[in-house]
C-alpha cells in the first residue's frame, strides 16, 4: 500500500446550536484549523472529500454542491460520501484511498452535521412506502440490542452509568466537547429519566452541531511533518435484513477489525493498541464493542469497564475525547474518532492525551449496527 498520513486535524467547538455560524462557516472553522496544522496551502490540496449523514438533517440536498466554494473544492475533484453513522470514518478512508491509489498527493476531507437545522430523531425515523413505520429514532432502535447484550453477558445495571460518567469526565478535559458536566457521577446518571430501557437520559449522546476536517497526505508531502501514519483501514457492511446476522455482535464489525489488525500487523489488540476512539453513542456500546473488536472475550467486555481498564489511565483507554456520548454531530462523529486517534499518536491531544500513545484506533458504525469503518494510526511510518 502506498503510505498515507494524517498531517492536520481541525475540529469546531461542538454545541447543541451553533447559531453564530452558517453551514459554510461551521465547516470552515474545522477546515482552517486542519490546513494550518498541516502547514499546507489551499493550492496544495488536490481533491476534497465531504461526508455527512442524511441530508434531511439540514434540509439541503447534496449540500457539497453549494458548499463547493467554501470548502475550497472549486476547480477540483469533489466527492460526497454517505454511509449512515459510519460516514465520518468511511469518508476519512475514502480520502486516504485517494493517496493510496497513487493518484493524489494531498487531500482535504471534511464531515459535518448542523443538527439544529432540523430534528435528528425525525430524520432518523424514515417512513417508506409499503413498509411499517418504526418511528424509533436511534436510541429506540438500539435499545433491544443492548437488552440482549445484558441478557447474554449478565452484566450489572451500573455498567452503563459507568461508561456515561467516564466519557463525560474525559469530556471535561476536552474544551471542544459539547457536554461539559463538571460534577458528573453515578448518582446523577442513575437519577436521570429512563428514555429507552436500559438507557437513561445521561447514557445517551447529545444532538450537536459541528464539523471535523483532516488533511491526508502522501509520504512526500508528509515528510518532516508531525504525522499520524495510517497502518490499516477498512470498511464492512451487512444488510439490515440479512438472515442470520447477530445485531448484538455484528460479523461486519468483527471482520473489519480483523482486517485492519492484519494490515497493521497487530495480533493482540489489547496489548498492541495504546488507546482507541470508538463510536459509543449509547453507554452500553462500550462493553459491546470491546468484545466485537477483540479487546475482550465474549460477554466479558463489561468487566473492563467495571475495573477501569477503559479510563484515560487504564490498560486500553476508550474515548479520551469524551466520545460520541459528549459530542455528536452525526455525520462528523466518525471522523472525530479517526481524527482524535491521529491527535493521540501525534501527541497533540492536550489534556486528554494518553502518555506514550504510539498506536491508536479510530472506529465508526452506522445504520442498524451494520456499517463499519475503522483505521489504525501510528506515530511511526
Amino acid at each position: 500500500m502506498i503510505p498515507a498520513a494524517v498531517i492536520g486535524i481541525g475540529q469546531t467547538k461542538y454545541d447543541s446550536k451553533r447559531r453564530d455560524v452558517s453551514m459554510p462557516g461551521l465547516i470552515r472553522e474545522a477546515i482552517d484549523k486542519a490546513i494550518i496544522q498541516a502547514g499546507v496551502e489551499w493550492q496544495d490540496i488536490d481533491a476534497v472529500v465531504l461526508g455527512k449523514a442524511p441530508d434531511m438533517f439540514e434540509g439541503v440536498m447534496m449540500p457539497e454542491l453549494f458548499l463547493a466554494d467554501a470548502i475550497g473544492a472549486y476547480n477540483k475533484p469533489l466527492l460526497r460520501v454517505h454511509t449512515a453513522g459510519s460516514v465520518g470514518g468511511s469518508t476519512a478512508i475514502m480520502a486516504a484511498t485517494h493517496i493510496t491509489s497513487g493518484q493524489y498527493k494531498c487531500v482535504l476531507t471534511v464531515s459535518f452535521e448542523k443538527q439544529s437545522e432540523s430534528n435528528a430523531t425525525w430524520a432518523l425515523s424514515p417512513k417508506y412506502p409499503y413498509t411499517p413505520h418504526i418511528n424509533a429514532g436511534a436510541g429506540g432502535y438500539f435499545a433491544p440490542y443492548m437488552r440482549e447484550y445484558i441478557r447474554r453477558s449478565k452484566a450489572p445495571e451500573h455498567i452503563g452509568w459507568q461508561v456515561a460518567v467516564k466519557d463525560r469526565r474525559n469530556a471535561n478535559l476536552n474544551p471542544l466537547a459539547h457536554l461539559q458536566i463538571p460534577n458528573i457521577d453515578l448518582e446523577m446518571v442513575k437519577n436521570t429519566p429512563m428514555l429507552w430501557e436500559p438507557l437513561r437520559y445521561l447514557e445517551s449522546c447529545p444532538s450537536s452541531d459541528g464539523a471535523c476536517a483532516l488533511v491526508i497526505a502522501s509520504k512526500e508531502v508528509a515528510k518532516g511533518k508531525n504525522a499520524a501514519w495510517i497502518k490499516g483501514m477498512s470498511i464492512r457492511s451487512e444488510g439490515t435484513l440479512s438472515a442470520g446476522r447477530d445485531e448484538v455482535n455484528p460479523l461486519a464489525g468483527q471482520m473489519c477489525a480483523k482486517d485492519i489488525y492484519s494490515q497493521a500487523g497487530i495480533t493482540n489488540p489489547l496489548k498492541e493498541i495504546d488507546c482507541a476512539e470508538i463510536y459509543v453513542p449509547f453507554s452500553w456500546y462500550e462493553p459491546m464493542w470491546l468484545e466485537n473488536l477483540g479487546f475482550a472475550e465474549l460477554n466479558q467486555g463489561w468487566k473492563f469497564t467495571d475495573s477501569g481498564k477503559t479510563e484515560l489511565s487504564g490498560e486500553i483507554p476508550f474515548n479520551m475525547s469524551g466520545g460520541v456520548l459528549s459530542s455528536n454531530p452525526i455525520g462528523a462523529s466518525g471522523m472525530i474518532r479517526f481524527g482524535e486517534a491521529a491527535l493521540q499518536v501525534m501527541g497533540l491531544a492536550g489534556e486528554h492525551q494518553v502518555d506514550n500513545a504510539n498506536v491508536a484506533m479510530g472506529h465508526a458504525y452506522g445504520g442498524a449496527a451494520q456499517f463499519f469503518a475503522m483505521w489504525i494510526v501510528s506515530s511511526h511510518q
Binding site: V60, M62, F66, V81, L124, Y128
Partner: protein, 351 residues
C-alpha cells in the same frame, strides 16, 4: 499503473413511473443481469459502491434500503456516494488502484416519479441566498440557455435538432422512453416551461436503475472477461455561485479535456449527461462534434434516471465499444445546477 476495464453493464427499461416498485425491485434485476453477462457471482465482487439520493425517495437512507438487493452476508466491503453512480464508479476505480479490490460492482438508482422533481432539485441550492428565491431546476437551466442565446452560441434550431436526434436515436435504444419527435411548428408552439425551454427541451421524469462491473487486467484474464479499458477518468466541480460562472461554458469539462490530452477528432462515440436540449448543444460544441453525433443512445432526453444517468452515459459508451462498433469513446456525467459538477471517462478497446 494498473489497467482497469469495464466488463459489464446493465440497465432497466426506463419508465416514467415504476409504480409500486421499491429500490430492491429496481436494483435486483440489473445486478443479476450484469453478473449473468459476466459469468461472475457476488462472491467474486471485492468492493461494491452505489449512487443514490435520499431526497428522491423522500426519506433518509435510500441506499440502506437498496443494499437489501444484493448479497450482504457474510458482510461485504461496500460504500455509497450521495451522487450520480458515475462517481461511485470513480470511487471504485480508486479502490482498485489502491489494491483493495480486483473486481467492483457499481450501481445507481433513482425513483423520481413520486415527487415533484423540479422543486425537489431546488433543495440543492444555497439555503441562505438562492433557495429562498425558489428557482426550480428548469428555471436555472433556462438561465443557462438564455446566456447561450445572448452569447450567440445557441439557436432554437439547434435545440430542435438536439430533440429530434434524441428522439430518433432513442428508437434504437430498447431501454429508452419513446419520445415523439415534434414537428418544427409543434416545437415552436410548445408549452414554455421556463423561457426559452419548452417541455420538449426537458428530459422526462424517469424511474430506474443501472449496474456496472469493473475489473483489473489480471481479473479479466483469470475470469475470461472482455474489458473496455478506462483509459482516463477524472472529475471537477465548478463554483456554486451562478453569478461567478460563465454559463456559456463548462469549465470543468474543458479543464478535464486539457488534462486528458486526447484528440477529440479521433473519438468514435460520445455520450453526454445532458438533461436539456441546450446542454446537448453546449456539450457537442465543447466536444467538437455535431449535434446528431453526440448521444447515439438518445441520452437523458429519452430517459433520465436521477443518480444513474451519468453511469448510463458511461454504460452506453461501453456497449458501443464492447460490440466493436467503436474503438474509442468519451462519456460525460454531470451534477448540480447548470452543469456545475462534471466527470469525464475516456474508454478504449484493445486494437
Amino acid at each position: 499503473m494498473k489497467r482497469i476495464g469495464i466488463v459489464g453493464y446493465s440497465q432497466n427499461k426506463i419508465k416514467r413511473d415504476a409504480g409500486s416498485a421499491n429500490e430492491v425491485e429496481l436494483i435486483m434485476p440489473v445486478v443479476h443481469k450484469v453478473l449473468e453477462t459476466t459469468n461472475l457471482t457476488q462472491s467474486h465482487i471485492d468492493f461494491t459502491c452505489s449512487g443514490s439520493c435520499d431526497y428522491l425517495q423522500g426519506a433518509a437512507f435510500a441506499f440502506v434500503e437498496g443494499l437489501n438487493a444484493i448479497q450482504t452476508y457474510p458482510p461485504i466491503k461496500e460504500s455509497h456516494v450521495e451522487m450520480d453512480a458515475a462517481w461511485a464508479l470513480y470511487e471504485s476505480y480508486l479502490r482498485i488502484l489502491s489494491g483493495e479490490a480486483e473486481i467492483a460492482l457499481v450501481y445507481g438508482f433513482g425513483k423520481s416519479s413520486p415527487g415533484n422533481l423540479d422543486q425537489i432539485m431546488s433543495l440543492q441550492l444555497d439555503p441562505y441566498y438562492v433557495a429562498p428565491l425558489s428557482p426550480d431546476r428548469v428555471n436555472l437551466a433556462g438561465l443557462q440557455a438564455n446566456s447561450m442565446i445572448k452569447a450567440g452560441i445557441l439557436t432554437r434550431e439547434e435545440m430542435y435538432l438536439a430533440i429530434s436526434a434524441a428522439s430518433r436515436n432513442g428508437l434504437n435504444n430498447p431501454n429508452a422512453i419513446k419520445i415523439d419527435n415534434p414537428s418544427w411548428d409543434e416545437y415552436l408552439m410548445g408549452e414554455i416551461v421556463s423561457s426559452p425551454l419548452t417541455k420538449f427541451d426537458c428530459s422526462p421524469v424517469s424511474d430506474g436503475a443501472s449496474a456496472m462491473i469493473i475489473a483489473t487486467e489480471d481479473a479479466c484474464e483469470k475470469f475470461n472477461l472482455s474489458p473496455v479499458w478506462i483509459d482516463k477518468i477524472g472529475h471537477q466541480v465548478d463554483s456554486a455561485n451562478l453569478g461567478f460562472r460563465d454559463l456559456t461554458q463548462v469549465k470543468p469539462v474543458s479543464d478535464l479535456l486539457e488534462k486528458f490530452k486526447i484528440d477529440l477528432s479521433s473519438i468514435d462515440v460520445i455520450e453526454s449527461h445532458t438533461q436539456f436540449s441546450h446542454e446537448v448543444v453546449l456539450l457537442s460544441k465543447i466536444f467538437n462534434c455535431s449535434i446528431e453525433e453526440i448521444n447515439p443512445s438518445g441520452g437523458p432526453l429519452v430517459g433520465n434516471v436521477m443518480m444513474a444517468a451519468g453511469l448510463d452515459a458511461i454504460g452506453h459508451t461501453f456497449e458501443k465499444l464492447q460490440n466493436h462498433s467503436a474503438k474509442t469513446g468519451l462519456a460525460h456525467a454531470a451534477s448540480g445546477p447548470c452543469l456545475q459538477q462534471n466527470l469525464l471517462a475516456y474508454l478504449r478497446c484493445d486494437s
